[in-house]
Subunit: 163 residues, 2 copies
């Protein structure tokens, strides 16, 4: 069953699930991005970055921690922060204790932008995700995506290195 040339192909049910995952994902992020573009002054990525900063003490976090939390490459974060700094949403300052380090801090303007965008963002997430699912489905989705995330991270981190 489902094995040709030593390759374990996906069966029909697995195929269907995988396709739904791909397409559903693409449509969801397209719609959420469109909602941000249409109503809000922050893109989804900028918004997420500011949310993460808003949860840090003094609204400040090291670039590397920020990159890890947002699942962004260092380089991409550097460019993104440079642009956002240009708009006055965040500012950079040297990290204390490690002269290589750079802290990223949300400015008051950034905070104001976050507060202004939050209602529209939450409405969109509700409309496109939370309200679309039964409560137990949302819980299941979270649990399942958690497992997927853990597996992906361990592959990226290079855990399970061959002996």
């Amino acid at each position: 069953m489902g094995e040709t040339n030593g390759v374990h192909w996906l069966d029909d049910g697995q195929q269907t699930a995988w396709r739904s995952f791909l397409v559903g994902n693409a449509r969801f992020f397209e719609a959420l991005g469109a909602a941000h573009d249409a109503e809000l002054d922050l893109s989804l990525g900028e918004y997420t970055l500011l949310v993460q900063l808003s949860e840090q003490p003094d609204r400040t976090q090291r670039m590397s921690a920020l990159a890890d939390g947002l699942v962004l490459s260092r380089s991409r974060l550097t460019h993104t922060v440079t642009r956002m700094e240009g708009r006055g949403l965040v500012s950079r300052c040297p990290a204390d204790g490690d002269r290589r380090g750079v802290n990223c801090r949300m400015t008051d303007l950034g905070h104001a932008a976050l507060v202004a965008a939050a209602p529209g963002h939450v409405r969109a997430v509700r409309r496109l995700l939370v309200d679309v699912l039964e409560p137990d489905e949302l819980e299941a989705l979270g649990r399942i995506m958690g497992k997927i995330g853990v597996a992906a991270r361990s592959e990226l981190t290079g855990a399970a290195r061959d002996c």
Copy 2:
């Protein structure tokens, strides 16, 4: 509960699920993309495009249908196909019956590239998704993402236009 200034914020459980969804997704696609980059000659996007073509009669499909199926903008598909055409993976030809239309056809070289990439792709999808979940979880994920995709599409299509 959870309502301030008329905004329905997410409760803790909803927040957790939403975060898991965001982060799990980002990690998953990062890992799958990395697997393609490392082992295969086709990016995930190129591979998906060729898969879709491979399922069409004569390995040929109209640009617009291809764009819809892959959830890509027309413009993005044009650029992608131009690049892939440059590599000899697909070719363009006029659609018959509608002189505006353009067909995209997978070449033999494209088919060979697809066949060569398929085992590695499927292995990665197994490792990062299918094998990570229980069968019922995979089924649930497919079902849930299907619902999300439908909701997102109806928003994008502009259904439910206000009276």
